[in-house]
């Protein structure tokens, strides 16, 4: 049977990746939906109200799955990582509690009001509830990322009585890592919202469904995607500068640098590694490029993993014993996921900019171009791939630490949970996620087939307080009963 450490790590990776498909999706869609409703409130154009409801229903679907899979995350620390919880609870628990108190209540309350409040609130107030929900999602991200950032770059603590204790709450929330992660992740939310919206619109245009309804949506999606992806690029670049400073091993691994490079440093566009020998097997290099990417100038060398490993062995003799002197993270995975993330990021900037150009009023050629629409349709999936790659870089690159330089993964797991229990929970979660993901995709496709007009009627019926709808339902039921009777009589 696999070790509990492996199973607990696998479970954490699986649940987090799945959860984090839905977080950017729902936050991005909340933003897009709120934006569309604002356009409706400002212009009074009923079409935008219908669009709001259409995209709102997709948003609510993803929100539902996102919320329920988030529950696992909070309890998992106690269930699978009890030693970790004991060691860092004094610091790590606080942001989680604040998140629940400050953000979860806000999100769930105001989203509930928005869902059921169409006829209960004035237009502006109704729109405001969704913006408040959006603020809630950002606050939620801020606190979660503050917790994660502390694991990457622990600050404001001291080790006392065999555990880490908080000495400065302000240091915790002003951790430079938090600010970088927050801007990187939240711009990622916006670009996800933009590309998903644009992708759905492109798909509907390809299918010739409600063409006039979706043209402006495609453009709005591309606009948000461009803003989001540009911001994301800048934030990501800044974050890598910080990573090089605080976690040089992670940085070197993402660039596949084993031996410290000369200055200027060449950049591996493609490379393959022999991880047990700690060597690069094959690589295609571009001169100067690594210096430019790292330092934004054509000179400067990058420290290699072998040298960093030797340093870490000296710096952390106890941890070195645990990992047999081997501080190397999974290099191949980091190298390639980093390239997927960065490559897609640039492609997304290019595509959103081109898309805006091709949909300009003078010559909107994209709407009629089937190949172009296909591209945007399939790029709907690129934010997920890029974001997942980004998290793999962040989390796997922290190896062998749960809290960088302070506490190892091996010391973190629950010693009293059996491998059998973990295997069982892993298997059930896996099946559950496949099921939820499948249902979610099925319903989204159904919704797209109904289109905006279909969503309008289907959606209003969601409101149990809407007497009008209930009355029509009553009539429909009576009518269908009558039909059946008639049929029987005939």
């Amino acid at each position: 049977m696999p070790s509990i450490e492996f199973l607990a790590r696998f479970q954490f990776a699986m649940t987090t990746i799945f959860h984090f498909f839905f977080v950017p999706l729902s936050v991005g869609m909340v933003f897009m939906t709120a934006l569309m409703e604002t356009v409706y409130v400002v212009t009074g154009d009923e079409k935008w109200k219908k669009r709001t409801k259409f995209f709102g229903s997709i948003m609510l679907l993803s929100f539902a799955v996102g919320v329920v899979t988030g529950i696992i995350q909070e309890f998992q620390f106690g269930m699978n990582w009890s030693e970790y919880s004991r060691y860092v609870g004094d610091i790590f628990g606080a942001p989680l509690a604040v998140e629940a108190l400050l953000a979860f209540f806000l999100e769930s309350t105001f989203l509930g009001i928005w869902m059921f409040g169409w006829d209960k609130l004035g237009k502006k107030l109704h729109n405001a509830t969704l913006w408040i929900t959006f603020v809630g999602t950002f606050l939620s991200s801020l606190w979660i990322l503050a917790a994660n950032s502390w694991m990457q770059n622990p600050v404001g603590y001291e080790v006392k009585g065999g555990r880490a204790t908080l000495t400065s709450f302000s240091a915790l929330i002003t951790n430079p890592q938090t600010i970088l992660e927050f801007s990187h992740v939240t711009t990622g939310f916006l670009l996800t919202g933009g590309f998903i919206t644009a992708g759905i619109a492109a798909y509907q245009l390809l299918k010739n469904r409600e063409v006039d309804m979706f043209k402006p949506v495609l453009r709005l999606g591309l606009l948000v995607a461009l803003i989001g992806s540009l911001g994301n690029f800048v934030a990501g670049d800044q974050q890598m500068l910080e990573v090089q400073r605080t976690q040089p091993m992670k940085f070197a691994a993402t660039e596949g640098v084993y031996e410290t490079t000369p200055s200027p440093a060449a950049w591996d566009m493609v490379a393959f590694f022999n991880e047990s020998e700690h060597t690069e097997v094959f690589g295609i290099r571009i001169p100067y490029m690594l210096s430019i990417l790292t330092y934004h100038r054509p000179s400067g060398s990058v420290e290699g993993m072998n040298e960093i490993n030797a340093k870490l062995q000296k710096q952390f003799p106890e941890a070195a014993k645990e990992v047999n002197g081997n501080f190397f993270p999974p290099v191949t995975v980091l190298f390639w996921t980093f390239r997927i993330m960065a490559g897609l990021s640039m492609l997304m900037i290019l595509l959103s900019a081109l898309g805006l150009f091709w949909t300009r009023k003078k010559r909107p050629i994209l709407y009629e171009n089937r190949f172009g629409l296909q591209v945007y349709r399939w790029f709907l999936f690129s934010p997920f791939l890029a974001i997942t790659s980004g998290w793999l870089v962040t989390e796997l690159g922290r190896y062998p630490w749960t809290v960088y330089g302070l506490f190892t993964i091996r010391d973190s797991v629950s010693p009293n949970v059996s491998a059998g229990s973990l295997l069982f929970s892993n298997a059930v979660y896996f099946l559950l996620f496949c099921f939820l993901g499948g249902v979610m995709i099925y319903f989204t496709i159904q919704r797209m087939k109904q289109g905006v007009e279909g969503a309008e009627t289907a959606y209003v019926s969601l409101d149990p307080f809407n007497q009008e709808v209930l009355d029509t339902k009553q009539e429909e039921t009576e009518k269908s009963v009558d039909d059946v009777k008639k049929g029987a009589e005939e």
Binding site: F77, M79, G93, F110
Partner: protein, 331 residues
């Protein structure tokens, strides 16, 4: 033990009480959707009564969990890893239940809708039962080492008291949900909810008596806190009787409040019973105490300020939600 530690022990208790008071009736409504609702429209009416609020009610659990992690990490670690499989089943229940509301609305076939309604109902039965099972097996004392690692076997979780406790919590939630339905709906459903509650209360009486007897046998509550335990047990019974009488007198609001307060009294009973411990070990030397399970004074102070500043706003907008959706729901 410091005042702050005591304060946070109480806060965790308050958050769990809030969770059971609020989410308790959501579970009861979920159970009613597959038991007392007669047709499609009544099912819609039943589930519609909690549509806008169930999600914010459930956040109380997340907040309770988060507060427990932040204020008593040793308790959080021992309890959650020690009751792994029960908690895991609760999580699976919460996940399935949580998606049913949205998935129901997106199902266009009656078959699909019925499937999600059933999942909602079954998970609504399972979750409070499992919570009851967990808390009542916790108070009996579990095998635990000096570090606080629980090494429990099947019978530590599932035994006479814990099963009775699970059923009692389930019944309480169901009754609380029926009282809520009587308060929030109109027509036949309202009548039927009250009638069902009236009958079910007799079952609850029996359950409470058995629970009290088993509590005296299997826990040290009476030994450690004689008067506190006695008073709270009495409070539970009095509140139950009061709720029952209110149901019969058609005073729906007081019935609902009384069944909610019964939950509060139950949580209070558990928290005062384990005091000054948070986890009871079969070997008393290994029990985890409030004074050595908590975070540092600095963290607790910071958390206290944050809570005192934010909580009033949370309560205000939650109250506003209930105010917006105050109307009774028609069939």
């Amino acid at each position: 033990m410091t005042g702050l530690q005591l304060f946070w022990f109480i806060i965790v208790g308050v958050l769990f009480s809030g969770f059971f008071f609020l989410e308790g009736f959501d579970y009861g409504v979920g159970m009613s959707a597959i038991t007392i609702a007669k047709d499609k429209r009544e099912i819609e009416q039943t589930i519609g009564s909690i549509g806008p609020v169930w999600d914010l009610n459930e956040v109380w659990l997340l907040t309770a969990g988060g507060a427990m992690f932040a204020s008593f990490p040793y308790w959080y670690a021992s309890l959650f890893s020690g009751f792994y499989l029960i908690l895991f089943l609760i999580l699976v229940g919460l996940i399935l239940r949580g998606v049913t509301f949205e998935f129901r609305h997106h199902s266009h076939s009656e078959k699909g809708k019925m499937l999600w309604t059933r999942i909602l109902g079954i998970s609504s039965f399972a979750i409070p039962f499992l919570f009851g099972l967990m808390f009542t097996s916790m108070i009996q004392g579990v095998p635990m080492d000096a570090r606080g690692n629980v090494s429990a076997t099947f019978t530590s979780y599932v035994n006479l008291l814990s099963v009775v406790g699970g059923v009692a919590v389930l019944l309480l939630a169901w009754l609380h949900g029926l009282n809520y339905l009587a308060l929030k709906t109109e027509g036949e459903l309202r009548e039927r909810a009250a009638r069902t509650a009236n009958k079910l209360y007799f079952v609850l009486y029996a359950g409470e008596v058995v629970f009290a007897v088993l509590l005296a046998i299997f826990t040290d509550f009476l030994e450690k806190h004689f008067w506190g335990t006695l008073i709270l047990l009495a409070a539970i019974v009095i509140l139950t009787v009061f709720a029952h009488l209110s149901v019969r007198a058609k005073k729906e609001m007081s019935a609902f409040l009384a069944s909610g307060l019964t939950f509060v009294a139950l949580v209070a009973l558990i928290f005062q019973g384990i005091f000054p411990r948070v986890m009871i070990a079969t070997n008393p030397a290994h029990s985890i105490l409030i004074k050595n399970a908590s975070s540092t004074g600095y963290t607790l102070t910071t958390m206290t300020w944050i809570t005192l500043i934010i909580l009033p706003f949370v309560l205000i907008y939650m109250g506003w939600t209930y105010f917006i959706f105050r109307k009774r729901i028609k069939k």
